[in-house]
Structures are given as structure tokens and as C-alpha cells.
Subunit: 166 residues, 2 copies
DNA sequence: AAGTTACCTACTGATTCGGTGGGATTTGGA
DNA sequence: TCCAAATCCCACCGAATCAGTAGGTAACTT
């Protein structure tokens, strides 16, 4: 029941983009450095997310990557699902033709699957962006924690879904 | 977010044992044939489950494997957890020292983890055994005889306690 | 004693994971 | 116009995990 590094990296990268939503394109290397991720690998992950419609990109100088939608509108399920492929815990859930339940533990796996989807649906990029901004405000550069690239004023008005605010 | 074949095989095997709980040792080859699982592989899985205290075994002729507890008292979480190792979706949940949340998405992964555990806790081997018996009654193996002794319903509810922590 | 069964360890082919590397293409700016 | 910056695309690669096999040893029944 692991979430691979693809999923984790992707979530972190998009959370970073979400925290800067509205500021225009950010290039991949910047994201990679800020989140301490391998740049070329992240490039591939973002390409997948672009093909999945979650980000838009522009090439050439001053190009970069931007979220395709408002952070509030992007659930973690969308992100993880694109990077991880199917989230089905077992193959016997595959036949959605609705007739035969081939495996004995079918109700179990189905419950597990829906529980996972439901949880992943209940978080959005806006939730993570909020935490990320809070952390950046708390640990400005120089302190040992998270050296951040540039912390210019993040004035973007964030309407946040307050489901998971703590 | 896959459950490996180890986990699935183990659940099926224990469900089979659960459906025959109280009938004494059943040898591994029988279980393997009934559930269409590779015998030698299943042997390894059951060894793990034995070391984890979920089954007891006896060697030699007429030996075999038996559930160590009432099927109602064994949750699927225990089974999967033993075979799959840690069920933590990501490593940043590892430090249970309760103070530092190192990763930004920590609340997300924690919610995911608990949602998984909760679902896996809510099913027991007795649940699966019931379905298994129902299936066998409906489609008895045509040529080979799978001895289908009727079991009386196992005694009244023992609330399963959450012994298990990660 | 003989046969049956679980136990244990080692090995293995296939697949996935987690990246790297190198180029081609597009774009903005001097 | 030309260069630098950036994404895009694809091939490759070592390491780890997965899903078993194989074979011998120990214990138990008859």
C-alpha cells in the first residue's frame, strides 16, 4: 500500500505551484530546487500531469509550468491517479461490467478502494498550498530547515476549502 | 496503492482456513489446490503468518495448518500487515515521535493511512469465510470432492481489540 | 522404518522504480 | 538575427522488489 515517489514528488511539485498560483510560469528547475527533487525526473512527472490536463506549460525563455485550474479545483486523487496509474488495490476489481464478483474478498477490496479514493478526494492542492506558505513564512532562509528560493510576497487571494484546516 | 499477491494469496488462504475452523489441521497443498495458489509459495506465506501468530502448524503425517484464533478475532489488517510489511503509504509518517511533521503533505498521508487501516480493520476472516461457504454451497466442485462439512455457527461475538499499532 | 508433512534457505527471471543523458524544438530577449 | 533558456521526447540503466522454484532438513504418524 505504498504511494510511489512519483506520486509524492508530483504532489509536492503541484503544491509548490499551487502556492504560487497566479504568478505566471515557473520553470521546472526552480520547482525542483525548491522541493529538493531531481530536476529531470520531475520534468517527466510534470509532462504526465500536463498530458493529464492538470498543468499547462510554455516553452522557450521565460517559459515554465502553471496549474491549469484553481488549486481548490484539483484534488490529490487526480494528481496521484495520473502519476500512479490505476489506484485499484487488486485486479479483481477491474471488471466493472457489474455482473460477476470473481474474487471472494471482493467486498473487502472494493471498500478499501473507495476508502482510498474518498480520502484522496477530500484534499485539494489549495490545502497543501496553505500549509506550504505557512511553513515558508515560519522558516525563512538562513535557518536550517527549508532554504527557499525567493520568498516574495505571495499576495494571491486564496479562497481555501476549510475542510482540512488545522 | 496495490496490495501485492502476497497479501491477496494470504487472505484467500486464511479465508479458506476460516471456513473450516474447528476441523483440525489442513495441509498446505490442500489449501493451495482449493484456492489455485502455488503451493510452495503459499508455504512461505503461511510460515510468515505462523511467525506472526495468526496460524499454528503441526508437522508430519496428518499435519497441517490451523488458525490460531477464532476467525472473528482476526482482522484483515493483521493478515495484510504481516505479509505486506508496513502499511504506511509514505515514509514521512515513520517518525511517531509525535513532534515534527517533516513533509508538507503529512496530514494527507496520515488521513490516507488511517483510512486504509480503518477499512482493513473492519473486515474479519469470519466475513470472508461466510462468503466462501456460500460460494461453495452454490458451486460444489464437480469432479473432485472438497469435503464440505457443515459447521455450526461459531460462538457469539468477540469484539476484536485493536492490538496492532504501526 | 517409511512416508508424510511442515520448515528453511537459496536462487532466479521478470517487472517496476527511480532516476540520467542527450538531443530536438520552441520561445524571448539583446 | 542569433543566442540562451526552457520544455519536450525518448532511450537507457542500475537497483530493488515481486512472484515464484528448487531442494534439502526436521518433525510427526502409522
Amino acid at each position: 500500500m505504498r504511494v510511489s515517489s512519483r506520486g509524492q514528488y508530483g504532489v509536492r511539485a503541484l503544491a509548490y505551484l499551487a502556492a504560487r498560483y497566479g504568478e505566471g510560469p515557473i520553470n521546472v528547475r526552480t520547482v525542483a530546487q525548491a522541493e529538493r527533487l531531481p530536476a529531470k525526473y520531475l520534468e517527466q512527472l510534470l509532462a504526465k500531469l500536463r498530458r493529464g490536463g492538470l498543468v499547462r506549460s510554455s516553452r522557450g525563455a521565460r517559459g515554465g509550468v502553471v496549474l491549469a485550474q484553481d488549486p481548490k479545483a484539483i484534488s490529490i486523487r487526480q494528481v496521484v491517479s495520473l502519476l500512479e496509474g490505476s489506484l485499484l488495490p487488486v485486479d479483481c476489481l477491474k471488471d466493472t461490467n457489474g455482473h460477476e464478483e470473481n474474487c471472494v474478498a471482493h467486498p473487502l477490496w472494493r471498500a478499501l478502494h473507495e476508502s482510498v479514493l474518498s480520502t484522496l478526494d477530500s484534499f485539494t492542492l489549495a490545502d497543501l498550498a496553505e500549509r506550504l506558505r505557512a511553513r515558508e513564512a515560519k522558516a525563512p532562509r538562513g535557518s536550517g530547515m527549508i532554504p527557499e528560493a525567493e520568498l516574495e510576497t505571495v499576495g494571491a487571494g486564496s479562497g481555501r476549502s476549510d475542510v482540512h484546516s488545522e
